[in-house]
Amino acid sequence: MDQPSPPYESDLVDLTDMTLREVMAIDDSVLGQALRRLWREADDPEELVAGYTEAI
């Protein structure tokens, strides 16, 4: 059932060396909030599931 996956090469900058302080200092732009979400979910990795599209 499971098939080999082509390597997904990410061109994104490696965030490993960014400290939490640096992340939190990023402005209130979309990207800033996106990075903070990434850190939040890394800290609290409750099982991530997909929700219903036809409601908000």
């Binding site: 059932m1 098939q3 990023i26 732009s29 909030q33 990075l35 990434l38 991530l48 997909a50």
Partner: protein, 406 residues
């Protein structure tokens, strides 16, 4: 009305869930429950998957969810949540138009749910409405029971009234605008956001800015339902043109470039999150297992109500909350197919470099008659266009940020 009998070979009818389980796969418990409170609507939107597409079973379904079904649904949700040790569950009151059930019925459902659920389990209760019935008594009821409100709105008056009309032909924008005004003025904490169905004939930025006039905390931009056998408007299956991708890119740029975030745009935020290595929280993008159960007005447990856009009978599991536990639905091929991630994707999708972000797109949009759901999305070129664009924008910003910090 003729019901086409679906060939047995349409995937996922051939998905061997028992074999998956034998190899160690385990289903993810449901977290979100869509209760079809009312099976009719006071609008006649021409793109509606419930009433205007292939599946016309609504004609013989109960108009309103009867009391014994409400009780059974609440019992089953509580049992499921307890069995799986869930910290929280989400319930969406839906339809048709759920507010047609009336304030009393809504209050009863909310009370029943809270009474049945153990106190330790948090309940997120919402309603998704066409917005035409948000009067003061209903709003007061929603507030009393802590029910957040999502409203369907397709833009300004011109954009919205293209499709969201009463059966008489009259547009509904004026009524929705008035309802939103009452909601925002009296109960701003209840306002969850706006759902907008895309029409590529509408100017994208103008549409988005019309939504912003209501200061929504969140919006989502939905692709109209269609598939390879019944294509959506403006999409020819297999055509590499990207009308919807272009439309979404225009909105993305307008949204992303704002000095500070004006609203959350769910589809964009999920693609950004996926591009940064995260997992999606919405079933229209990404590979996260879908943890949604839909309960129809008669108590039937459905695979997913939007599958009505594919073919008649696509939603059925043969299960009902009156007689069956929700766990039984987790073993249904149609449910499992939306929880197995990459294993549900076609070879075409697996060969695509963005398949972990795209996830094959929204499941109903993959349908092809006589083949089933193991196909790319009919919107594949549009999704690729949007994902590549977002990936590039985020990469540029991340590179610029990293340079500033050196």
């Amino acid at each position: 009305m003729t019901t086409r009998i679906r060939p047995p070979a349409e995937w996922p009818a051939t998905l061997d869930v028992a074999a998956l389980a034998a190899r160690g796969w385990r289903p993810v418990p449901f977290r979100q429950f869509v209760l079809k409170l009312f099976g009719r609507c006071d609008l006649a939107c021409d793109y509606c998957y419930m009433f205007a597409m292939t599946d016309q079973s609504w004609r013989t379904a109960p108009v309103a969810m009867p009391g014994h079904v409400v009780t059974a649904a609440a019992q089953r949700i509580a049992a499921h949540a307890t069995r799986h040790d869930l910290r929280s569950v989400a319930v969406v009151l839906h339809g048709g138009e759920p507010l047609l059930a009336g304030a009393e019925a809504i209050a009863l459902i909310a009370t029943t749910l809270r009474r049945r659920l153990p106190e330790a389990i948090n309940l997120d209760l919402r309603v998704q409405t066409n917005g035409t019935r948000l009067d003061e008594p209903l709003l007061a009821t929603l507030a009393a029971h802590h029910i957040r409100v999502g409203v369907s709105l397709d833009g300004g008056e011109r954009e919205h009234d293209r499709h969201r009309r009463y059966a008489s032909g009259r547009g509904s924008f004026a009524a929705v605008r008035a309802g939103l005004a009452r909601l925002r003025a009296g109960y701003p904490e209840l306002f969850a956001g706006l759902l907008c169905t895309i029409d590529v004939r509408n100017d994208p930025v103008r549409t988005y800015e019309a939504l912003l006039e209501f200061a929504p905390p969140a919006v989502d931009l939905l692709l109209p339902h269609g598939n390879w056998s019944q294509p959506p408007p403006g999409r020819s299956p297999g055509d590499p043109a990207t009308p919807y991708g272009d439309w979404l890119v225009a909105v993305f740029d307008r949204w992303y470039q704002a000095p500070s975030k004006e609203t959350a745009v769910r589809i964009f935020e999920e693609i950004i999150h996926l591009s940064l290595g995260g997992a999606s929280r919405i079933e229209s993008i990404g590979l996260s297992p879908t943890a949604v159960a839909v309960i129809a007005t008669d108590g039937a447990i459905e695979v997913l109500d939007t599958l009505r856009s594919a073919h008649a009978g696509a939603v059925g599991t043969g299960l009902n909350v009156v007689t069956d536990e929700l766990d039984a639905a987790l073993a249904h091929p149609g449910v499992a197919a939306r929880q197995i991630g990459r294993a549900a994707l076609s070879d075409t999708c697996l060969a695509c470099p963005v398949h972990r972000v795209c996830g094959g797109g929204y499941y109903p949009h993959r349908y092809r008659r006589d083949a089933g759901f193991r196909n790319p999305s009919v919107y594949c070129p549009d999704l690729r266009r949007l994902i590549d664009h977002i990936h590039r924008r985020v990469w540029e910003d991340m590179t610029a940020n990293a340079s500033r910090q050196c």
